[in-house]
Symmetry: C2
Subunit: 478 residues, 2 copies
């Protein structure tokens, strides 16, 4: 490994300092660059390509489930933001305000959208008249701005990229179904695209979205034992509909308010990919989302026939996988660590001796296993291997999460887990806000969700000892 | 046509009032809705789907020519915007300023990006060291804000969607090649996706982009005889590189400044599609960009077997074209005018009598021609017909443009064309700004471009009579 030393030694070990390890990776894997703009990062080509893959997978699923894309303005007049009371209270403290346009001082401030419920509502109120106009299933791809005090690439930035779905329905039941349907889409994308297992559940009243009746969430667990909210889906009931007057005449001609949902997934999920899968060599990308699935590194590329053969292999593989051939003048060892840092799932080495034997060497990024494969079998072996890497990475992440998921029956057990073992704590809760507050104060852990899959850890609240109503996942979180 | 009357009578005739006709179409074809946000429109699903088709075609071409997508922050600190003198002078008067974040007053104003040269430059200065790092070929999909006084949907809005390419190169020649390459990509998309013929050329000094050494443009001609700038590509030389210190060491180790380009196409092009192809029945979409290429309208759909057969045809056609089946309870005549308004290229009618004869009726939106086709031949006939519609629309647009392109040797001729015939005026120019200003003052026409394909209309400047250096396309413009 001496050849790789230079690159590798620049990364902090994850066990020594997880936060610094994360910062090193986002920089060295060329995911982001810091800008001179407060709290905003630049998504470099490699990170943006990951986002494009997430985007196209989600977008396809949205369209398959009947959704249409639209685009709303990025600026929201202050009076519009104020129409729904809980919503403005939740967001006003963290928005950026435009107060000047050209050389004129505006008579009304405009906020840069932190989320677009208000704009969708205003539009829906205009275009919906009859039950025949329902449902409206809209989605929007855009960036939003929230004036954060402390920021970290992907995890919390002043501006981030996301999609926001906003739908309206004739009945409460339909809207509730939609809320769960989209939560399941997110869970599916986490598990089947990103190889990240998630816990599905409902947020407590304290943790729900500003203006929602219910917020559903998928929660994932990072390598350092902290949780990350990975996607949310909100049921609004008629809260916004009443504030904005979104009414329709039903089959009998009676005027009714619509029932509404919204749901979003953000570039924050890239942070989860880094922190669930990465190691001390760098990023480790799940194959289905990796911008480069196979990197070809020629060995002794100056020798006759090597680059020709590598190019031939590249052309062949490009039909079945996203492949890159690196014929730059760097040493192979240097290239090895560069693509390990970038988390490319498979490295293909081919040199004069391999060519003689009509074989190549495949090296898995996840297990570092080396496999010798005949050149004639590449078209079947590579897809199989990519599939296997996805499954192994998912299983490894699931195992890690299970090892870091513990049950607590008492506050002592609870504190011990949070401080020493870290990870998810499953514990019973009476349902009172005061216990939720006290747990946070005493341990730093917040309620992550009330999982759909309930277990009876005990029959009393871990905090107050009164009768428990629900089992809750708790944890320190990003 | 009596059945269609209700919808059709709501549209102003284009000959009576072209501006009102345009406004009617964007509303009735459900392209946009007005928002309560000053000068911003909502891109409704149908308009956004058109944009998605333009986007995916452009994006594919960008990637094929080696470009990578990135994402830069939407906010630019004032001092960064000011680094290139001409650039800030051009843009500062029309930007929106963020002055408050959360509850705090910012110490430095941030502008909402009107364009992102400055951010790309700041980033490039950090990531480029050696000639080996060049070229960098980046593109970004986003929205930008320009504080416009008067706005019209697509054509001029406070916020619009676009892509902005920003590239840096080791040599002037490479950068110039890139500038022309991307102009050609735009021309190709206009002609082959949107069926809009364009004139390629260079902008005069007066009309070029703020901070550029040269701006190239594609210009198209609308039905009312006004020109529309449809895409631009800028060569910056080393202007920005010097302002931002973007240097690299060349092969000999000498420090050099990079040469730079930028190029953009915007949602304004949707306005061109409307105004080049539309008619008094509404929108007329070129097949390759149409979100719905074939709409199936069942006749007497309550009769047994009609909806089944229509569904069967839909499934079949969905393999070769974007198809929609409308089984809503509206009258067929109402559906006819609705999809004519929406510019769907082919309407397929199928009723009990057609089913008996194993045939359908295809109606072209462009020529209104009716064609009877056997159900067994649909898979070959529909793609052929879509192809033919594209070609016919392109030829019709080209013919219309040629009829509205005239040469002028004197200012009297020039004025007569602009006022009575309208359209492009080809006229010679001495190269002096004063003549360009005078022509605008006297006629309202601006120089659209100095076309690559030069002709010698005469040998003297149409304005001052001095020796001419170039033939220029002039016209009133959007």
């Amino acid at each position: 490994m001496a050849k790789n030393q230079k690159l590798v030694e620049q990364i902090t070990s994850m066990e020594d300092d997880f936060a610094q390890w994360y910062t090193d990776i986002v920089k060295k894997a060329e995911l982001v660059d810091y800008s001179s703009v407060r709290g905003c990062v630049i998504f470099r080509p490699y990170a943006y390509a990951i986002w494009e893959n997430i985007q196209s997978t989600l977008d396809k699923k949205f369209k398959e489930t009947g959704h249409e894309n639209v685009y709303m303005p990025m600026l929201i007049p202050e009076n519009l933001l104020q129409k729904e009371k809980d919503h403005v209270e939740g967001f006003a403290p963290e928005v950026a305000w435009v107060t000047q346009g050209g050389n004129e001082q505006l008579t009304e401030r405009l906020c840069v959208r932190p989320t677009s419920e208000t704009l969708f509502c205003e539009h829906y109120a205009k275009i919906v008249q009859s039950y025949k106009d329902l449902p409206k299933l809209y989605n929007q791809w855009c960036s939003v701005v929230r004036w954060e005090k402390t920021t970290r690439p992907f995890l919390r930035t002043t501006e981030f990229l996301w999609q926001e779905g906003h739908t309206i329905h004739a009945t409460k039941e339909e809207a509730e179904e939609e809320t769960i349907r989209m939560l399941n889409v997110y869970a599916d994308v986490c598990e089947n695209l990103l190889a990240i297992p998630v816990v599905k559940g409902r947020k407590t009243e304290k943790e729900k979205f500003a203006g929602a009746e219910a917020t559903y969430t998928i929660e994932s667990l990072m390598h350092d034992g902290k949780a990350l909210q990975s996607g949310t889906s909100h049921f609004f009931g008629q809260n916004f509909a009443k504030a904005f007057g979104i009414q329709f005449s039903d089959k009998t001609g009676k005027l009714e308010y619509v029932n509404q949902t919204s749901w979003g997934m953000t570039t924050r999920i890239i942070g989860a990919v880094i922190m669930v899968h990465g190691d001390d060599e760098g990023l480790k990308l799940p194959p289905r989302v990796a911008p480069i699935q196979v990197v070809i590194v020629p060995i002794a590329q100056h020798k006759e026939g090597v680059i020709d053969k590598a190019t031939e292999l590249k052309d062949k593989i490009s039909k079945i996988a996203r492949v890159k051939l690196d014929i730059s003048d760097k040493m192979p060892g240097w290239k090895f660590s560069e693509y390990e840092m970038k988390g490319v799932p498979i490295r293909l080495e081919v040199g004069p001796k391999d060519i003689e034997k009509n074989q190549v060497v495949l090296v898995r990024r996840d297990t570092r296993e080396k496999i010798f494969v005949s050149m004639d079998e590449l078209e079947t072996k590579i897809p199989e291997l990519l599939e296997d890497i996805h499954n192994s990475m998912y299983e490894a992440a699931k195992k890690a999460r299970e090892e870091k998921t513990s049950s607590a029956k008492t506050m002592d057990e609870f504190k011990d887990i949070v401080e020493n073992k870290t990870g998810f704590v499953k514990a019973m809760w009476c349902g009172d806000r005061s216990c939720e507050d006290k747990i946070k104060e005493d341990t730093g852990a917040t309620s992550r969700c009330i999982p759909f899959e309930q277990e009876e850890v005990s029959d009393t609240c871990v905090c107050c000892g009164k009768k428990a109503t629900k089992m809750v996942y708790w944890g320190r979180a990003y």
